[in-house]
Each structure stands twice: as C-alpha cells, then as structure tokens.
Symmetry: D2
Subunit: 348 residues, 4 copies
C-alpha cells in the first residue's frame, strides 16, 4: 500500500518541525506538502526554516518547496501547527475546501461541534463531526488535540474514570519546548522556576472536563469533576511532569488503582494504530520515577508514565504523571488522531 | 554591648557553612566555637572544611580551630547543624550540660516537649521549655526550626490562620541546596525534575500541624487541618517554590486575603529582632512572581514571597509562595529563633 | 557634596537596567534622566519597562518619566546602553550637543579618535579626546568600554604586559546575560554549549590590541601581539570565564607572574575611584577556581579573578580568568570610566 | 552465526551501565557475564545496581546474576569498566588467565606494550600485542581506549595528520556524565563552569601523542607535536565540545582541510565494523554547530562532529569538535576496539 500524502500547516515553526520529525518514517503517512506564511512560500524548506530540533532537517523534507497556507493543491489530510493568531481563519478555509484538518492549535478546541480528542479516552467524540459538517456547511472537518499539559493529566486520570472522579488538584512542571522557539528566554528559566504560563490553567481545567465528558444526544456533556491547576515552567527541555491529588467517589483500594493503571487499554491499542503505544499508561514502581529527562523518550514519547501512587491526606489518592509535551502533547497526538480517523474511514 | 559568643555544632558540613555565612557580621552573635567530628578536630577551619558556598570562608572563622562536638569549653548558645545520624545524642548531651541548643536537625522537631518554632507564628511554643527541662532534668534546652519546605508553607499560611484553615494541598519545587553537599548528583537533576525527596512529605504534613497548633495546658494541640504535600526537586540552587490550594472556613474575599498578607506582622517585627524582616510575608502583584532566582535573595532571604492569589475551582483560594531554604529554612531560621529566645531572657 | 546627575540612553533595555542597578546608591552619581525610544517616552519607568534583573525596579527610578533619547534637557553625563542599530547617530547627536557620552555600545569602540578604556590599563587613552573634539567639532565627547569578554581577557593580561605579550590563544565560556533580553532562547542553551557568538571573536581580537596599545603622538598604536579567540555560550547567568595560553617574550618564572598578579594596581586604585576594587586582579590559589557562580559577585563584580596558573606545553603559561560581564564588562565598566573622567576634570 | 558472548568487568558502575546499554542489540556481541565487587556478587543485576541511565535496565541483562570479578567462568572477551583504584590488578589477572580485556580504564593506557586504540587512527598499534604477551607471559591481552576528551581531540585531528601537526592548543567543555555517578555534585555545576578536571589535561596531552604516534620497530613513537589542554566541566549531560587551534607544517588551504575532513575514512569503515559510522568525522557547515545537546546522539554517538573551520590569527587554523563522551569516549570506543580485534582474528 502506498502511503497517504499529508500536508503540514505552519510547517516552519517549532510545532511544524515536530510534525516533520514525528512523521519521518511513519508507516501510513508521508509529508508531501508544507504550508507556511507568504514570506516562506517558494523556498525550499531548509532555506525557509532553521532547524531547531536535534540533528538536522530530515532529508525527505529538506528540499520540499514551501507553499502559502491556502487551499489549492494541498493533500486532503492536513496537520495544523498554525499559530493561534492566524489558525482560526486558515483552518476553517481548509475545512470548507474539503480538507480534514487535524489541528494542534487551541483555537477550535472548545468549540461545541469540534472533537477534542485523546483517542484512548474519547474516540467516540468523533461523532461530533457529522453535526460539525452540517452546521458549518463543510465537506471537510476540524479535529483537535488538547493542550500539552492537559494530555498528561487526562491520560493519568483516564484509568480512574471508572471510580468516579469528583475533584482534582494538579500542579504542573512544564518543559520549555512547550513554548516553541525562541520561546522562554534563558535569562528567565536557567536555575529558576516561573510559576505562570499564560492561559494554561484555564485550558487544563476546561479541556479536561470536555475530554472526559460523555457524548450524549449529539453533544459532549463535560465531566462534572472540579479541576484546579497550578502551572509552572521549569528548566527541562522535553516532558511535562504533574502532581495529582484526586478524589474518587468509589473509594478504590491501592490495588484497584494499580490494576486500573496496569490494564488500561483502549481503541488505539485494539486497532493497533501505528503510533499507539502497546500500553498507553505505564506505572513505574521505582520510588523516584517517572522523571522527564530519563523517561520522556520511552515508547517514542507516546505513553504517559505514572508513579508514586500513595494515599492523599486531603483527597483519596495522589500520584505523579509524565508525558512528552511535543510528542504526545502535540505532533504525536495529532498524528494518532489522524490514525484513528483513518481507521474510522474519515479520510476516505 | 559586646556580642554574645556562639558555637556551631556540625560546623564543617553544608548547613554549618550556612550558619557561618549568616552569622558573619551579625549584630548580636559572634561565632567563637566550631564543633565537628573527631576527624576535623584540631585543624583550623579552612583546613578542615572546603568552602562550598559562594566566595571564600569568612576571615573571622577561617582560622578558628575546630573542636570535637563534646560539651566542655563551648559557649552557652549553640547552633546545631549536626547530621541526623548523630544529632540526637550530641544535642541532648549539650542540653544536659546546660547549653541552649538551637537546632536545625530534624531529630527533636516532633518531640512533644520541644518547640518547633517559626517566631512569626508560634513564639508562645517556647513555653514548652520549662516542661522540657523538668521532664528531662536538663539545665539547658533544645529548640528547633522546621524543615526548609515547611517554613515556606507555614509562612504562606500564617496570615490565613484567622480564616480557619481546614484543608491544604501543596506541591513543592525545591532547590538542590536543600540536600547539602555533595547532595543531589548533577546526573540526576540537570534538565530534570525528581518527584521524590525522602521523608519530606511526611515532615511537611506533620510539622505544619504542630507549628500552627495552639499551646494549651502545657502542650501543643496540632492544627486540625488536613495537609497533603507533593515534594519535588528542581534544578534551582536556592529557594523553594510551592503552589498552595487552601480551604478556608470563613470564606474570606480576595481583598480580605490580600489585606491579611499585606499587614501580617508578629513578635519578631514588634521586637525588631535583628534578623526579622520588616514584612515577613510580602505579596508580589506581578503575574509571574515570585521566582526563586530573581527573588530569593531579597530581604536577606528572611521573608516569604507570595504571588498569584486567585480563586481555586476545588478549594477556596490558590497561590504560590517562595522562601530561601538555606536561610529562612535553615540557618537564618535558627538564628531568628535564638534572637527570640534572647529577647525572652532564655539565654541569660 | 551633592551628587552629579546622570542620564541613561537606552534605559529600558537589559543593559539600561544594569546601569540603573549599578548606579543605585552610587556615592557620586545619581540617575536623574532616562532616555529611550519614542514608544516608551512619557511613561513612568516601571510602566515602560518590565524589570528583568533580580528583585524589583529600584524605587528611586521606578517613577521617573522616560523621555525620548534626544538632546534637550538631559544632564551633561550620559551613559549609553543604546542598541547598536541606533547608537551611532544618537550618541553623536548628544556629543555634538555638548554631552559626555560614556558608552557601552560597540559602534564607536574602534574609531581611531575614541578612547576604548579599561581604566586600570589605558587611562592615558583619554588623551584622544581633545583630538576627537577638534576633528568632529564637538563640545562633548564619546568614550567607550570594551566588549564584555574583552574586559576579562585584558584584565587577565594587564599584569603580564611588562613581560612582553607576543601571542595569546583564548577560549571563552560566556554567560547568557551577555546577550541581553530576551537574548538566548532556553531551547538553545539548556544542557548545551553554543560554540558561536556573532562578531565576538573579531571584537576580542581587535579590541585587545587597541586597549593594550600605547598612546604615541596623538594616537594609539595597537599592541603587536597576535590574539586568537574561540567564543562559546554556556548555561551560566552571569560571568564570563576564559582560558588563556600566553607567550611572553621575557620568559618570567611562575613566581614572577604570581607577583605581577598579586601586586597589580593602577590609576583607579591610586585615586580610590568609588567603583574601583582595591585589587582589580585577584589570584585564587584553589585548584578549581575561579568559577562563575561562586565568584562572580565578589568585589561587587568589579575585579577579575585569576586561577590555575601553570606552564603551557605550547606557549609559556596558561591560566583562567573570570569577570562579571554585565558589571565589569558593561555597566560597571562605563561607570568606572566616568569616575576616571570626573577625576580628570573632564565632566566640569 | 551465533553471537560472541562477552563479559563486563565493573558492570554495576556508570561505565558498566553504558557498556550494557551500548551492547544491547549488538549484532556480534551478547552480554552474558557481569563481574563486579564481592558486595554485588550473587545478586540479579537489577537488584545489585540502580539504573542511572535513561529508561530502565535492558531486559536481557536485568535478571543476569552478578559474579565476582575473578577469572573462572567468564567469557574470553571482557570489557573493563573497572574503577582505576582496582583495575590494574584485576585486568592483569584476567589477561594472565587468557582473556582479552578491552578496557576503558586509564591504568594501562600509557604502558609501552599496551595499545591505546582509536581504530580510525592507529589500528596498527594492535601489533604491540605479541610483544605484550611475550613480555608479560600472558595468553590473553589488554587493549585500551583513550580518555573521553582525548578521543574527541584525536578524531578531530586525525584527518589533518597528513599536513604535519606541530602545535595544538585545545580547550574542552566536558559533560558531567564523564565523571560517573554520583560524579559532579549539582551544587558545583548548575549555572556554573568548573575550570578543572583532575589529571585530565595531562591525559589529553600524553595520550594524544601516543595515539597519533607511529608504530616502528615494535614500539610506538609518540607524535612530536606539542599539545596544550585546558579542561573544563560544563552543565551538559552528554558530549564533550572542544575548541582547537592547530599549527600545520604543510600550510594547507581551507579547501584542503575541508576535503580532508569530508573524505576521512579508515579501517573500521573499510571493514564495515558494526559500530563504525560510515563517516567517522562529519563537518557541519552551519555557523553555530556542532552543539552537544543537538548533535551528540547522531550516528549513535560514534562519529566526531566538526564545525567552524576558520583561520587562526596565532596558528594556522581553528575549529570546534564534538564527541559523545560515554559512547565514542568510553563504551562505544571499547566495543569498536573489540570489533577491530575480532576482524584481526585476535578473539579466536
């Protein structure tokens, strides 16, 4: 089978580069089209963009000519790494023109008719798409993945949903790669912690409720749980680590919870989607793990790592969770979304 | 007035060095005696100990001869920086011999008859000392300061005690200097976070309840509030930053809480103790402060800096707090305790 | 004596903030005027500029109204922290209008009639100013200080000039604060070294020859020594550390060189200028010093620290040197230049 | 073909773990025996040693029982990661017992009859082994690889040997992983540079001369070039970056040198040894590369990356070089040595 050609909107930015890197060698998709601003259009990619990730620009992409981010000769499936300042208009233009836009941008995440997907948690939210098409008159569609810190939290909570999540207090320690390039100035973060990331706490709180909500009668009912987030930037390159205190209605035992973590699997695993880790949530029994630098690259960055499950004097249980913010929290998340959509026939 | 001569137990370790540095130039106390292990005894200090802090060994101490940590010719007031593995026996020997041991070690903190002091919060816990002397048959006494992360939490909570603290969830991001020397290996912390500090969470939870407890009928009744701590090590040199979600019975408004922070003062301020900051708790209105590297050295490291007060979707309010772990959380805390005790006549 | 009022050109940038901080509490000068771009003009300083250094904006400056950087009501003495893109024109306009512009910008450093000063090395280069005024028709004048890495190198070499410096190979490990704000992206420097700083090597090579040159017949004859620089950025906040291999014609012994370092003093010390350290070059005998984080703040950042003097298998001797790039390499350097000029009567 | 079973001496230390990691999945060798101190003997590896590298202990090794590091049932080929304090005696005991000891320890590197190998540079130094066996009465043998910083320097210089290297000044910026575990305390290196690594400069200077020397009449004549090293520790996890100024007798042009770098290949490439990179020296044309964090993992850490070739005002040329200190500078170096020896029939 020949690979499906895909395009990247916003290909020259940091998230665009993460898409290029993650898709390099992908068994199903092949990067064939790069969209960016007018300024970059017409140049070969490696002239239009300085490569900010490790190593050098993948060969298969280095020579591709960048095009302007307008519908025309782009492939049907597009990954969007557009900056929020321009994503709304551009993504809608492509969806209207019949493209499937799988977006990492925040702009449409909270739209009632747009799926905010974590395939292991809410694959059924894809059922929003027919309504989206009808309402908006689109032949194409937009699907989104969550904010990078939300993914870590929701994957850590997903196995516990069965116990009735009622309250969550979460503190994040987030990597600088989450802020793009040039992103966080070194003068601000070397030997430091910055206890503020603009808009991040609101995103984590709202997106979590939507992601973990039920699809009922054509729409998503947000999870009723209360969620409070404290977001911080730390001097880490890749990997968001979060501490979680959670109240659970069913009062499970430690063994119940460990069993839930250890056995958690979902549709991406059942369908053996190419980017799905065999075990999406992996519990580490070591006393001081997971740790960003030591664990973030495991499972190609697609699993969430959990550790330190212990009773919480305030709520029921507390633990830590780690996820790769630019992979599972961005490019990899969107690619897994596209794999899920492909498995549903939505790319046909 | 000539200065009061003081000694340091465990003078060659990292905490001992922090005592030497903090006492350098102190208006009331003068370091005149250095106690350490047999191995160091008899050597001038700058031969016995490599200086690990910034700059070089203060001149007034560099040439002092280190003595073995045994009662004998030590001054009455001793600051203890002894390692926990030996502190119990040595501190008790000195107290029995009539010395006032103001200790940073954890060994006696939770003893029922030993004050665990934060002078701005529980100066009245010094009333435990008469009972301590009676029970133990000591002429001297032991008083302690809290664990470095506990100080930050309790100073952040102190102004809110009036509103009825019932539940607290706290996550720490702690500096490496808290682990002494050699302490945290660089291979573990560079570009990383370690979500575990042995015994720290238990200390924070228990010590907070004791510190904020009331002295009633000769003993301390622990605060009934539930406290849950998540402790993490980050790549910061000095300064523990904590995020706090707090439930308050009296349901104060934001203005009530800001007023409580801004006006908080206590006995050390009233008595103008030399190491007491004019305002022990300082609220920073900037969106992204306090930050360890930018704020930790302000007020000579003796104040707690607060920021980001905002409603908490789970409890009532959330905010961040910062304190200098080796100053307000160790050497400076003990020195302030001694200043308080001196002002009470306990050193006479 | 009332203080001399001074102004800062480019007051809202990072270097401008270093000037404000260094001048806070200065015994001779008082910041009374702040010049910046049209965009900032008319605002109080703490509204016009976010404070990027430790702590908060000094009180005495926070409320000063920023003015446009044009001659008019500015004081006679101006410190320039202008960006290189605009410094040429603005500094010249002020000099033409009669101001003494003591500049940290690179624009005029290599002009034949502009002194490039390190007061301990070439105070006599101030003799260029009469010629500068005559040639350019100025009532005022421009004097400059070197690039931050050049200062460290030249102060390390200054005591050795008597031995006939013929060849120098220097490698720098430079702090991120040298690049201003936002400056070096954290994605580029966390856990990394960047072996390139645009234009830095050329500056070090040329400026060193000019600074260490002799003033003869109205002009400066550059030092004939060959200098080769390798410049690198490292994950350090403040302090440039350099390794130096040097060939010396007179073949001094180790004792000769140590004596030269230990006894080095010059005009700023003789005149007891307020910002001059008692010993501008300080040799540290410890095996592993100086180190940026541990030594950079000593002597208020105004001394150069030297260490590890040892024979070089290729040239005669090798050693390391450290200096504070934003103090001795920028704001402090310019202030010391102004103090020197004041002592010469050039501000009258 | 079944794999050759190999053992690791000093398997529980940091270098031992690097061997285990590098050999995991090796096409020719299989880790079948683990030797360590008496204290660890008898335990399964994952109980005897905490895993300090990224991820978790490779499955194939986790359950192997550690044995005492004494000849007996060990395989013929042994990789030695023994600590220098015990390596001499243990390695010699194994060589005497007929084992081929391919050592990363420094103890035998400078012995006249022991090859100090960089297979791309001096494969012919293996000819020392017959003499070694005769002199020492061994059936086995010892071969060594250089110190981690020496490898980077010599691979950077190797292509230039044809031009007559006469003088070299090199400054290193070395990663903390080179110091093992716990190694460099975080208090010493966070936001800092340490301009001293005990014994490192002498090793670089001497080893370089031996490695690049000619094998003549049964012994190695050291290269006559003068080499001066300045060694520094920086806050980098993996990858030693060095700056090099080099004097070349033949006065090649820039094009000559670029050609030399670009075409450099040697015996490991000719024989297609499994761990040999296709191009052992790779020139990067970007202005600011190579960089440790961005380039060190390329080519599985087995190539040296070169950049910034430019004229040197003091010598002829200057450039930077980067190599992976725990791979090409330790475990990978030894494994490549063993592959070379296998290709020579020395393991039969």
């Amino acid at each position: 089978m020949s690979k499906i050609e895909v395009g990247i909107l916003g290909a020259t930015g940091m998230v665009g580069q993460h898409f290029i890197k993650f898709l390099d060698g992908h068994p199903l998709f092949k990067t064939a089209w790069l969209g960016a601003s007018e300024r970059s259009a017409g140049k070969p990619y490696n002239k239009a963009a300085k490569w900010h990730l490790g190593g050098v620009t993948p060969e298969a992409v280095a020579g591709l000519t960048v095009e302007e981010a307008k519908p025309g000769n782009a492939p049907k499936l597009l990954f969007s790494a557009m900056d929020a300042s321009v994503a709304t208009e551009i993504e809608q233009a492509f969806a209207a023109a019949g493209h499937i836009v799988v977006s990492n941008s925040k702009n449409h995440r909270m739209d009632e008719d747009v799926p905010l997907l974590v395939p292991e948690i809410n694959a059924d939210h894809l059922k929003l798409i027919p309504g989206q098409r009808e309402t908006r008159g689109w032949k194409g569609a937009i699907a989104t993945n969550p904010n990078c810190s939300t993914v870590v939290l929701t994957m850590g909570l997903a196995p516990l949903r069965q116990f009735g999540i009622t309250r969550v207090v979460v503190t994040t320690m987030q990597a600088v790669s989450g802020a793009g390039y040039p992103g966080v100035p070194s003068m601000d973060i070397l030997g430091n912690v910055v206890p503020h990331i603009g808009g991040e706490e609101e995103k984590m709180q709202q997106e979590t409720q939507k992601i973990m909500g039920d699809f009922v009668d054509g729409r998503v009912l947000p999870l009723a749980a209360k969620v409070s987030a404290h977001c911080n930037r730390v001097a880490v390159i890749d990997g968001h680590l979060v501490t979680i205190s959670v109240e659970l209605a069913a009062k499970p035992t430690e063994a119940d919870i460990r069993h839930a973590f250890d056995t958690f699997r979902a549709i991406p695993q059942e369908r053996n989607l190419p980017s799905a880790p065999k075990f999406p949530v992996q519990y580490m029994p070591e006393a001081d793990r997971p740790q960003p630098r030591k664990d973030v690259e495991r499972e190609r960055g697609m699993a969430a790592f959990i550790g330190r499950l212990r009773p919480c004097p305030v709520f029921d249980w507390k633990f830590v969770a780690l996820g790769h913010n630019t992979v599972r929290g961005a490019a990899g998340a969107a690619v897994l979304n596209a794999e899920l959509m492909q498995s549903e026939g939505l790319l046909d």
